[in-house]
Amino acid sequence: MAVDVLAEILTNRALSRDYNVLGFAAPEIARLARPGQFVMVRPTSGNDPLLRRPFSIFEILRDDRRQPIGVSILNKNVGVGTSRLYAARPGDRLSILGPLGRSWLDVFADAPGHESWFVAGGVGLAPFLTLAEHTAADKRPMRLFYGGRSQSDLYYASLFEDLGASLHLTTEDGTAGEKGRVTLPLERELKARGGRPVTLYACGPTPMMRAVAALGASLHAPTVVSLEPVMGCGMGGCYSCVVKVSGADQHPHFVRSCLEGPVFDAKRVQWEALAH
């Protein structure tokens, strides 16, 4: 079930020239949301742009008594819609529709004894905070592999640390953490993990997710990816958001990622058929 809320913007924290976190007053959505689900945000009340934009639910906002009062999104300003969201002001009202899609937890039932390793590239961090909270509540060991172009791309890692995750940060320019791709420490740690069973959860640029999927396959770690195709409606109405995945019959089919995703068992994804 999805609800549409004309939500007041509670906060807009600019993290840099292109990242910000927008908090929305939307208790209905906050109460329903499960880790990894997303919302469709309408960037304006007018027609420019016309369509909503999909965003992972980043935080569940709570009041002093820990009651859910809303959700936030981690927004990267890349175009017309996200630039409006970058410039939005507290007090503005925007329509947000959700929660939508399946949860990380719908792909693999929590496998007993598995460690949860999150692999995030840039704004791909967004769907992990809710998963980390869930994992912490489960008292399951977790790690965050988090890569960006430079230090200024790595936000909020400390929130994960506070929840008990161990961190593996990388930047392409070496300004923070290890220099290089996030798959470097991931591969090293996977190889060094001994017999411990690990589940990988990945979100970020498609090439990164594809590389993580390959590592997971070769190093025997079940892998879930959260894909980010263009989405027209988020509700299953338009068939714009398809990804080619192999079905129960082992044949590849286009499935709507707003209904059957955005999270998928990486083994099912036909990477070469993705739009970008």
Binding site: M1, A2, V3, D4, R42, N47, D48, P49, L50, L51, R52, S95, L97, P229, V230, G232, C233, M235, G236, G237, C238, Y239, S240, C241, V242, V243, K244, H253, F254, L259, A273, L274, A275
Partner: protein, 306 residues
């Protein structure tokens, strides 16, 4: 005031004139978890061929000023899975199903129509002879007057369900296609399908859609669609189901005044899936303010400027 939102499309009665447009509302069930789909005037299903279809590779949509292009390529489950997997639940929910049917041949249209006629729960058939973005999507019929006549009269012979050819706007004289539909035995016509269009990524110099061409829908096209509905209303006696860019009750009323008996809403449902009650409430409010008892009093009520 006594005010009645129901409308009559030939032998078909709709509880209100506002229908979800084909290809914009899945098969209807997708929305059933979030809203009461039976409260809509009707649901036009995603276009159905006899067999399943994969559709085009992504990217399948691109946004344009006040509109969008789509080239879904009629991905769909085929009519047999529709009657087996969707129709029973849709019936149980009390949805008014207007099934949008496609074909690459006259025989396929007829066969799809036959299968649907054999099942309870289908209110009407919308003949998609106007999908602009697949070569075999019926557009070969929809862009020719004899083709339109042929497909309508062929389907007429195999079903007693109301049949509603859906017209393409990509023609010089849309009214002549409404006339051909009338002569072929249609119960109504619906229009407009999308406008053939394209968008190019200038950095890569490639089309933004994998299919290169797509169909333009949304508010951008509304003034053209209203004109076409008006032209058809002048030309035929058939009820008209109007659409193209509707996003408010005012837009619904504009189409009714131009000559529509009912309307469909496509793209705006993507923006606001809870739009339906806003539209019916707005229409009801308008009728109250203007002392209008029946929706049909609005249909074709355009006054000329003096």
């Amino acid at each position: 005031m006594a005010r009645d939102l129901s409308v009559q499309i030939g032998s078909l009665t709709l509880k209100n004139p506002i229908i979800a447009a084909s290809g914009c509302f899945g098969y209807g069930l997708e929305y059933a978890g979030s809203l009461d789909v039976s409260a809509l005037g009707g649901v036009a299903s995603k276009g159905l061929f006899l067999k399943e279809r994969e559709g085009h590779p992504p990217p399948r949509i691109v946004e344009t000023p006040s509109g969008m292009l789509n080239a879904i390529g009629l991905q769909g489950i085929g009519v047999h899975r529709y009657v087996a997997e969707k129709l029973p639940e849709l019936r149980r929910l009390g949805v008014t199903n207007i099934v949008n049917i496609c074909g690459t041949t006259l025989d396929e249209y007829c066969e799809v129509a036959r299968v649907l006629s054999d099942h309870e729960g289908v209110a009407a058939l919308e003949l998609n002879i106007s999908c602009p973005n697949i070569k075999e999507g019926g557009i070969q019929f929809g862009c020719s007057l004899t083709g339109t006549y042929d497909v309508v009269s062929a389907v007429r012979k195999v079903t007693t369900l109301p049949i509603i050819p859906k017209l393409t706007p990509n023609v010089t004289d849309v009214a002549s296609f409404a006339r051909a539909s009338e002569e072929g035995g249609a119960d109504a016509v619906s229009l407009v399908n999308t406008f053939l269009a394209m968008a190019i990524d200038v950095e890569t110099r490639t089309p933004k859609l994998s299919n290169m061409l797509g169909g333009l829908s949304g508010p951008a096209i509304r003034p053209i669609a209203v004109r076409m509905v008006y032209e058809c209303h002048q030309a035929v006696k058939l009820p008209i189901i109007g659409m193209g860019g509707i996003q408010s009750a005012t837009d619904v009323i504009e189409f009714l005044i131009a000559g529509a008996s009912a309307v469909q809403v496509g793209t705006a449902n993507f923006v606001d899936p809870f739009i339906w009650t806003k539209l019916t409430d707005g229409l009801a409010d308008y009728m109250d303010r203007h002392g209008i008892g029946r929706v049909s009093e609005i249909t074709g009520s355009l006054r000329k400027n003096t």
